[in-house]
Amino acid sequence: MNMAIRLAALLFSMFIATAIHAADKSPLPHLDIGKGGQCVEEDHALMRKIHMNLLKHQRDETMHKGIRGQKYSLADCVECHASQKTNSVLGSNEAFCQGCHAYAAVKLDCFECHANKRKVTAEASK
């Protein structure tokens, strides 16, 4: 019995040690940033933090007042950040939106309604 408790304690401490070790160098998501380039905001950390607020504010302006073509648009996010291979911001944990949302365990429901694919022109798809 004593032996069993000791063994359990040993296993448990090993498990904790591995967990701490893993947390030390927790893997950051490797994102495919698509075309990338100049973002609508210079500060990337700020974008990570408040992109949803910017989008939410502008969506109401567009929906209710018909103001279009403004700076913060979901379609423009997709345009720049959809993967060059799949033309989508979803589909894998490398994909720009899904990758980060999976990592942060935040539900991503924009794309239940909105298109997650870049608009491919007829010429480009040839």
Binding site: M63, C113, A115
Partner: protein
């Protein structure tokens, strides 16, 4: 004053006039909302819609051909609808066949959201997701729609559909999703770009020209002149909803 002096004077005046007027023109062009180009139906893209315009359509029943389904197909393609006609499929526009039992005359007309001035769907919505835009277009804000379907019940034209299944590959301009109510948007994404609706475009392409789209508030618009000149009716006019879609010849 000699003649040469007089000529110089004239030229100076002309130069002065041109300078001043060009400054005036430049002022016009850079004043907020006064861009002299890039206007969608007289409105800049970053300007909010106003109630100075009221979008509407006039459908000429005499020109609408019975077998033709082009407006429906165009709507489905434009908005990414499946085109199915099951009770659970979304239909934003449908062709309705009418038969006069006395004369035997059969005619058909397209039926869609009538974009009422006093929309019952807006009255009953508990979350204000169903709303009327300032320019008269009745829309559903799917961000705040809870899918209760009161509006579906309230609409006298059965114009609203509920999305029952998960959707994929929506059009970028037309977001649609499970659990929300939707209906004809009067192709709001096209109107904001300064274009006409997909159904009206398809109808003229087919050579019928039965659907006339325009601004009901502008007395100079083709639609205003036409409803001024010929008899047109609202369907269920007794409800006093003042629909934006009117019919001619029914």
């Amino acid at each position: 004053m000699s003649e040469t002096e007089l000529n110089t004077q004239t030229n100076l005046d002309r130069r002065d006039f041109l300078t001043k007027s060009s400054i005036g023109l430049a002022g016009l062009a850079i004043a907020p909302g006064m861009m002299l180009f890039d206007l969608a139906h007289g409105r800049a893209l970053n300007e909010p819609v106003s109630n100075k315009v009221r979008w509407g359509m006039l459908i000429d029943n005499n020109k609408c051909e019975s077998g033709c389904n082009d407006c429906v197909t165009a709507c489905n393609t434009e908005n990414g609808l499946s085109g199915g006609t099951k009770p659970t499929d979304s239909q934003w526009i449908r062709k309705v066949q009418l038969k006069d039992t006395f004369t035997g005359r059969i005619s058909s007309l397209p039926m869609m959201c009538q974009h009422c001035e006093h929309p019952p769907c807006v009255d009953v919505c508990p979350t204000q997701a169903s709303f009327k835009r300032a320019d008269g277009i009745v829309l559903v804000d799917k961000h705040i729609c809870i899918g209760c379907r009161y509006c579906v019940m309230a609409c006298p034209y059965q114009a609203r559909s509920f999305v029952h299944e998960v959707l994929t590959d929506q059009k970028p301009e037309v977001p649609r999703g499970k659990g929300t109510v939707e209906s004809c948007t009067l192709c709001v994404h096209r109107i904001d770009k300064g274009e006409t609706t997909a159904c009206a475009e398809a109808c003229s392409k087919a050579g019928h020209n039965a659907i006339l789209f325009g601004d009901l508030n502008d007395p100079q618009s083709e639609i205003s002149k036409r409803i001024h000149a010929v008899a047109s009716t609202q369907i269920r006019a007794d409800l006093g909803l003042n629909t934006g879609v009117r019919y001619e010849g029914i």
